[in-house]
């Protein structure tokens, strides 16, 4: 009987410790499975930043990202991008005209320069 109680106490301890570490690991993965893409859009000829261009990331899984617009120096930032096994595509629009689309493999925070124009 006493042995049974000891076994039960041991089992309960194992369950509690397992749940604690499982919870901690879930919390850790949730806090790290998002990435940030910082970019600059520059003109192919002048190599200067282009303001006012619309930026989207598109994904087979998550659809179309929030709209971002390049600032006066052509910079933009998209935060909270879910890290996925599937590829993303970065699209750049001048008004409604698509001027650039590139496949991106986002596995971590990244910074890139995108060159557009002729």
């Amino acid at each position: 009987m006493i042995q049974d109680k000891k076994d039960m106490a041991l089992l309960c301890s194992i369950v509690v410790v397992t749940l604690f570490f499982a919870n901690a690991s879930i919390g850790f993965s949730e806090s790290t499975n998002k990435a940030t893409l910082k970019g600059q859009v520059v003109h192919k000829q002048t190599q200067k930043g282009i303001p006012g261009l619309k930026i989207f990331l598109v994904s087979e899984v998550y659809g179309r990202s929030v709209l971002k617009v390049t600032d006066n120096d052509g910079y933009f930032t998209i935060r909270s991008i879910p890290i996925s096994e599937k590829k993303y595509y970065l699209e750049i629009y001048e008004a409604d005209n698509l001027v650039y689309r590139e496949e991106l493999d986002i596995k971590d925070d990244m910074e890139r320069i995108f060159t557009v124009g002729k």
Binding site: G52, L53, S65, V69, I78, R79, D96, L98, V99, K118
Partner: protein, 195 residues
């Protein structure tokens, strides 16, 4: 404060329901009737000797007070709609679509706290940055406080955007094709992810 208000609203609604259901039960058991009662049995409600309601139909009075307990909290618990503001202005000489971007200025409290936080924020002083953007043009910023926006209409006036990139020709080699099996929403359905 809001929590105690919500509790009061729920208690009031529960009391109202109890009165209505109780009234039905009393009618069913014959303890009350829908007949006219004598003046001595009439229900009378008086508020500060200014308002006095008397009914010789106690059962109906029971229902009406019960219904009032149910519906008055519904009226008071209705959320106040957030007021809308209008931004106006003219931007001559730009033959490209304009985009308006609103961002709040970070609000940093000067107070230091220990283990509990109590802050009073004067929302009318919180400022918004309005950015006017058009492709290939230098953006223009204006700052406006929420207090100014709350007045209804904020007039940007006449804004001139300077063109900084003469033209942007598309290079078709810059555009990779999307795989045929990928269906993505159109640009007006953005916002699926990211911040």
């Amino acid at each position: 404060m809001e929590g105690s208000f919500n509790i009061t609203v729920v208690i009031s609604a529960v009391c109202g329901l109890a009165m209505v259901i109780g009234g039905i039960l009393l009618l069913w058991r014959g303890a009350m009737s829908l007949d006219v009662a004598s003046k001595s049995e009439a229900i009378s409600l008086e508020w500060k000797r200014e308002l006095r309601l008397t009914t010789q139909y106690p059962a109906l009075g029971f229902f009406i007070i019960g219904l009032a307990f149910i519906f008055i909290p519904l009226v008071f618990s209705k959320p106040t709609p957030i007021p809308k503001a209008k931004i106006e202005g003219t931007v001559p000489g730009v033959n490209k679509p304009l985009t308006l971007i609103l961002e709040t200025e970070p609000w940093i409290s000067g107070k230091e706290h220990e283990d509990s936080i109590e802050e009073e924020i004067d929302l009318s002083t919180v400022r918004l940055r309005i950015t006017l953007s058009a492709p290939l043009h230098r953006q223009v910023e204006r700052w406006v406080s929420l207090g100014e926006l709350a007045e209804g209409t904020y007039d940007l006036g006449k804004v001139r955007l300077q063109r900084v990139v003469p033209a942007l020709s598309k290079d078709d080699t810059d555009i990779v094709e999307l795989p045929a099996d990928i269906k993505v929403p159109p640009t007006n359905k953005a916002g699926g992810f990211g911040e």
